[in-house]
Amino acid sequence: MFKTKKRLSLLLVLSLMISLLAACGGGTASNSPGSQGAEKSANGEGGAAEPKLEKVKLSWYLVGDAHKDQSKIVAEWNKMLERDLNTTVDLKFTTWNDWKTKYNLLLTSGEKIDMIFASSWADFYKLSKQGAFLDLKDLLPEYAPTTWGNVPEEDWDSVTVGGGIYAVPNTNPEYTPLGYVYREDWRKEFGLPEFTDLDSIEAYLDAVKTQKKVIPINGAAYENVNSLYKFWNDFQLIGGDVIGATSYDNPRDIQILPYTEEFEAWVKRMKTWEQKGYWNKNALSSNQEAGDFIKTGQGAIYWRNPSSAGGFINEVKAKNLNMEIGFFPFTRFHNYVIPTLPSSNAMAIPKSSANPERSLMVLDKLRNDPEYFNLMTYGIEGTHWAKGEDDKTILIPAPGVNLDETPRYSITSWGWRYEPNMKNEKGGWDGLDALKEEFSPISKPDIFGPIYLDYAPVKAELAAVNQVFEQYGKPLMLGLTSDVDASLQTYRDKLKTAGVDKLLEYIQEEANKYFDEKGIQ
């Protein structure tokens, strides 16, 4: 009797557990076929009946994280979409966890997605060549007429791959050249001139080291030196760290840069910098950002682009650190700047989309209608932002809102940016606007970014060359070898045996192909 009872209760528990599990999964399992069916039928009719739109549910993906209030904002957005386009959008986020794997999975598995963030740094060119995205050329004029009209011709060019337009680029000319943020108050204290060239930077580093007894480039130094190297020599690296054009004006003069005289002079100079102690012995292995040491008063220089420099300066201000930070963009060496590719932030429609037409209509609204744009880019007015003194300015946080409870609304809205709708935050770093004014007259188009390289014929050489670069090139760049001449010779020899010539040949060929296509000499 007792035994059967025990057994029965065990059975009961087990079955309960199983039914519980089944209930958890059951909801979604039974949901998906239904919604899919609805989508399909909607699609069938949606194309035919133009004036009265059928109800459609779209699925959109963005990279990055959702905001805490995301569901509220999307609900608001869906209300508007339902009113105007009889559409609702299910907005999903990849989160930043291993997002590249996820992004590629979404596109390769053929999951039904109607719009996704696309970017040159998220393999846009590779994926479009592989046919992951839908060609929008014929759809755009009909379903996104406003966008079709207000995106400049050359921006469409940047998302054109093999004759098809595979994404809608953002329209917000941006300049993100690298530069140094540095302790401006110290420079004034030393009575040194503003940075103009390598010598003035060296003088500053020297003063920091000798007078302040501070290591100027503390922590990880490689990128700090490498970015200076590229901009000072005007090297335009193409696909990797070893091969590139020797200057912007000679794009077809593509060389193995470590073989050049400039490189030799550079590494010799860096050796003297290292000997003077401008960075640590562990500069290659350190995980600490040089910028963190500036904040603690133990560093003086840190590589940033203008907008991240702005973030850095704002942070220093917000923390009430008693220091003045300046920014020196490396573009002043050669007096020109390459704007960010329009394709670096874009929205694309995957091949698997069931409703590309409707999705484009939504994007057209989102980009160009300020009501839509403000909601999805800046959040709910009064909660996440408030109107500033004019139409172009906003206040964050909105009056009476605590940022600890309602963090600022910043999702990856980059793909639908449209300059006339963008707003400036009050109290931001004013240097940014000054830099924009400095940059726009000296802007030159990016002719190196879109060169498409998949390295298929030279995979082995690429891996070997990268290995050599990591092992010999990086220490050399930071002067961390005892004998520069000898290690330069070793580096060059090792590159040769790794097959760098074959790699060069491949890159030259692909680059020339692109230059021919675009008519660049």
Binding site: A66, K68, T95, N97, N305, N314, W414
Partner: protein, 312 residues
């Protein structure tokens, strides 16, 4: 933790020794033993302490002076960042505990049944079937086909099943279980059969109690696997109320990491979360409950691993 398990027998011996007369050798042995074990357990504890202390240190202090056992300035910034949305953390705890409990129990049941069947010598195709299972450890379809299978054909996108099913049964565990059950003499099973027991009764009343050490081991593997799993959630879960703990914590870390990169500059956050201390705080939040739970569960593991010898 092993250190503690070793400590007990020594302590017991010492107690017994005090009743009889302690000779010099025993005292020397005890002194050496205690000091050695104290040192070793301290060595084991220091990393944990470093994590806890690090999570309460001021970020700036870590950058300028490195990690310290006893920080100068105590800061709760890292925990503030982790708990910006506390309800989400509690929810994630719930998901993780639920998935871990359900997954480990169900997994244990399936693994032990499979292991038992494969261990029975009177099961005709056991070698073929074993090979069939073993084969999957050598070859797999790869990530993309797996993903398509899970989402398109099984419809498991954004379902709790996507968290429970993939780690549920592993070939390695089945083989381990089979080998373990092989060590149970056939005569035990035969005698039960003679007494009129059916296969399920034998499995439940004879095999399972005799394989508690194996069950404890595999249960531990499964539970740890579920507790630490974030990849399945990363790939399959889209709604944030289904995020398990590890995924959520990883998300907090990677958002903080992105904010420090060039891409993060667009995100226009004026307050960058403290990256170094945040890592430590996340580790504390993730392992804390397990460490607190361990002393209570430990005795079952020790018992399960030591008894279970076949007695006639």
């Amino acid at each position: 933790m092993n250190v503690q398990a070793e400590k007990w027998p020594v302590a017991r011996k010492a107690n017994k020794g005090s009743k009889i007369k302690e000779d010099k050798a025993t005292i020397v042995f005890n002194v050496i033993g205690y000091t050695l074990l104290t040192v070793i357990s301290l060595v084991c504890l220091i990393p944990f302490w470093l994590i806890v202390a690090g999570s309460f240190t001021d970020e700036m202090e870590i950058i300028s002076e490195g990690f310290k056992l006893f920080p100068h300035t105590i800061s709760f910034e890292a925990y503030k960042s982790v708990f910006t949305t506390p309800e989400q953390i509690y929810r994630a705890y719930g998901v993780t505990i639920g998935v871990t409990a359900a997954g480990s129990l169900l997994g244990l049941l399936l693994t032990s049944m499979a292991g038992y069947v494969l261990s029975r010598k009177d099961f005709m195709y056991r070698n073929n079937l074993s090979f069939f299972i073993y084969f999957t450890t050598l070859f797999s379809g790869g990530l993309i086909p797996w993903y398509i299978m899970m989402t398109k054909y099984l419809g498991l996108k954004d379902s709790y099943w996507a968290l429970i099913l993939p780690p549920l049964v592993s070939a390695w565990n089945i083989i381990l279980m089979r080998n373990f059950m092989k060590s149970i003499p056939d005569s035990v099973i035969e005698s039960a059969k003679i007494d009129g027991a059916g296969d399920f009764l034998i499995y439940r009343r004879i095999i399972l109690p005799l394989s508690t050490p194996g069950l404890a081991t595999i249960g531990l593997f499964l539970a740890l696997g579920y507790w630490n799993d974030w990849f399945n959630a990363n790939v399959f879960i889209t709604s944030d109320n289904k995020y398990p703990l590890q995924f959520l914590l990883y998300k907090i870390l990677s958002s903080a990491a992105v904010l420090r990169t060039q891409t993060g500059a667009y995100l226009a956050a004026n307050v960058v979360p403290p990256a170094e201390t945040l890592k430590m705080a996340v580790a504390v939040v993730a392992t804390g409950p397990i460490i607190l739970l361990y002393p209570f569960v430990q005795k079952y593991f020790v018992k399960g691993l030591t008894i279970g010898a076949v007695k006639g």
